[in-house]
Symmetry: C2
Subunit: 309 residues, 2 copies
């Protein structure tokens, strides 16, 4: 799947990923009305609304982008119906040829991580049969439990040619509280970055590893250092747009081949119609507003890369 | 819910929690056969098997124990049907008067943690109505993202009187890889422990805080230090039994009042029928074997506490 991701990025010329993190609040009134009309103001109604919203966003953008990143929390908050909408979204995006990065931030001790790994990135056995329950291409993984929490993911990724992005330096303001603490004079996130590089060595695709890293756009200087520590890891970069990151902040997350990073925007794309810049589209045409926002984001990053590389 | 947990522990005299982490492999043949007969070798069949297994374990032990801890990964690996079995298990245990600790190890940045918090420990709004999608009493939380990943949980816990157990020092062999690294001469887990104490100050129940910590039974010396750092935090202690922890290792996790810790056993209880010690029960009576294992575990811990406190 890392080869597929790289191929999709080359094809689209856009190292970007659309974060499918639909707060119910982002879903335009006409979609909510229809969904609630059909299912009532229920968890099922909420799930239907976000699924219909996603479908329109995907229909309007899939030809411009290599990948999507559904954030499972935004579905899990609506319980079982919400998770069914997550699954429908994953399936629909894969049908459209998109690489799907499940932003699940799972991670546990050995046998438990193995369960998450088969559930999200592989196949689970039931008697003589096997099933791919969530069937994502990549998942995000929390490293706090150490190697024996990550190894079961590596095992499944090797078998299935799926991949992970390990949280190294997250985009939020208080990420430094633990991640930046100095260990032997170096921040903890660098040690995690070294582990990512080591975990990835035995899981190489053609150019990049199946083991990537999450590093927030909001910390460009740290991105520069981490890029060198993990030369073969794809970096998934959240925090562009709404969280404050800009194209020019992102150049050091990329390698000289112009690859090696994929930048996420969620609210900035899927709720673009609420920004002044895209207000002309109106609420009904939220999908077209998302498409325009994708084009602008891709251009912003392309320009920044052209000026640097 | 922390008051309920404390009350349940006093009532049963057993500071233990049964980990409902059913690997399909643990489920006796007659239950699998019935479930697969009804639903086929499908995700639905697997989910039915673990639900029927759980129900028998709960029926046989609920009067002896204060709480259960379903590990969501073991359900999530079976996709949507698995998560429906998780939800059924949570509901059934609550009906039986048990405190339910959802071992979900979630954690993300602000708005995303908020979604997990309402989904697991609170209510989510849909139009003019609100729902409690998973409705656990407590959830485990990963601290790697720092305070702004934890604060949304605190907000929901305050409103709902639910609680969290933050991962401080996990029971697995490689937990030290990051958690033990020295920061200003002190291991990282101590800094996390200090944060747990600080987060918990504004969320006090009668005797203990709604903010607890996870510290593995496999690291008793660290438990002793952490007990002092977080005097008002309940410590959830995994790693007893199958992972190697014993009653006498656990005394320092408790306060002098004999409270402040709750010890988890999963495989050691739910798959007791497979141990030589309980083989006399046979596979069909796996629930009675679990009951005997609970009684033995409670006696082991009680004896260790009586010898010390």
């Amino acid at each position: 799947m890392i080869n597929q991701l790289t191929a999709n990025i080359k094809k689209t010329g856009a190292p970007i990923v659309v974060g499918l993190d639909p707060m119910l609040d982002y879903v335009p009134g006409h979609i909510q009305k229809k969904a609630f009309g059909e299912y009532g103001e229920t968890l099922e109604g909420a799930a239907e609304a976000i699924w219909q919203f996603n479908r329109e966003i995907v229909d309007q953008t899939y030809d411009l982008i290599p990948a999507v990143k559904p954030q499972i929390a935004m579905y899990e908050q609506f319980g079982i119906p919400g998770l069914m909408a997550f699954k429908k979204t994953v399936d629909y995006c894969r049908e459209k040829g998109l690489v799907v990065i499940g932003d699940v931030k799972r991670g546990d001790i050995g046998s438990t991580s193995a369960a998450y790994a088969v559930g999200h990135l592989g196949h689970v056995k039931v008697g003589s049969r096997s099933f791919a329950p969530f069937d994502e291409d990549f998942a995000t993984v929390n490293p706090y439990l150490g190697s024996d929490g990550v190894n079961p993911f590596l095992k499944v990724c090797k078998e299935e040619k799926t991949g992970i992005f390990v949280l190294v330096k997250t985009s939020n303001p208080s990420s430094g509280e633990f991640q930046d603490r100095l260990v032997d004079g170096r921040p903890l996130y660098e040690l995690v970055g070294e582990k990512v590089a080591a975990w990835g060595e035995s899981l190489m695709g053609e150019e990049y590893s199946y083991v990537g890293a999450v590093v927030g756009a909001t910390y460009p200087e740290m991105g520069k250092v981490l890029r060198k520590i993990m030369p073969k890891a794809y970096i998934l970069v959240p925090g562009y747009g709404a969280q404050g990151g800009k194209g020019k902040d992102l150049v050091h997350f990329f390698n000289e081949d112009g690859l090696g990073a994929i930048v996420n925007s969620s609210r900035g794309i899927i709720a673009a119609y609420r920004q002044e810049k895209y207000a002309r589209y109106g609420e009904e045409a939220f999908g077209e507003a998302a498409r325009a926002a994708v084009e602008d984001m891709a251009a912003d990053i392309r320009e920044a890369l052209n000026n640097t590389l």
